[in-house]
């Protein structure tokens, strides 16, 4: 698991916005993942998307990393922001834009 955690840390250190999701940006495989991709597109930001369906060990690893049981997981500036519901709420309140502007 250490190796997976190191890889996750690498992703977060080399990319400002990282989304761990099911499927790809172009073809999300889950409605929750698709919704977060949609919101990030609306905000016009680029981000690294990691498809956990392609990386089964990452699927378990990211849950333990954040101590969060579900996918998607959005990270901004190495900080775990939340899953689909939190991201949606933050977007609706204008708070997500503020986090991105920091």
């Amino acid at each position: 698991m250490d190796q997976i955690f190191n890889q996750i840390t690498d992703y977060l250190e080399s990319n400002r916005i990282v989304l761990f999701m099911k499927g790809t940006k172009d073809m999300p495989m889950c409605g929750f993942s698709g919704k977060v991709v949609h919101i990030l597109h609306l905000l016009g930001v680029d981000f690294l998307a990691i498809d956990i369906l392609e990386h089964p060990d990452m699927r378990e690893g990211i849950k333990q990393f954040a101590n969060w049981p579900t996918i998607p997981q959005l990270y901004i500036n190495k900080q775990f922001i939340g899953g689909c519901d939190i991201v949606t709420q933050l977007y609706n309140e204008g708070e997500l834009q503020k986090l991105l502007d920091e």
Binding site: I81, G82, D85
Partner: protein, 76 residues
């Protein structure tokens, strides 16, 4: 992968009171639920901490027996 409504509701009751919990089986398939919880327990907690409290109530079944849960939390 599915979890019965009553089973999920009972898990939530482990932390929250009846009047704080509103649980809906959105697809009628015992696999996609939406829960709204209005509780004073959320007072002073971040959104992540609020949602984590809900996940903690459900325990290991989240993401396994239970595929999809939309969570709304509000401070009472």
């Amino acid at each position: 992968m599915a979890i019965e409504y009553n089973q999920l509701y009972t898990l939530l009751q482990g932390i929250f009171k009846d009047e704080e919990i509103e649980l809906i089986d959105t697809a009628g398939d015992m696999n996609h639920y939406e829960v709204t919880i209005v509780s004073e327990k959320f007072n002073g907690l971040s959104l992540i901490q609020q949602h984590k409290m809900v996940y903690n109530a459900i325990g290991t079944q989240m993401g396994r027996e239970l595929h999809a849960l939309k969570i709304n939390t509000k401070v009472k």
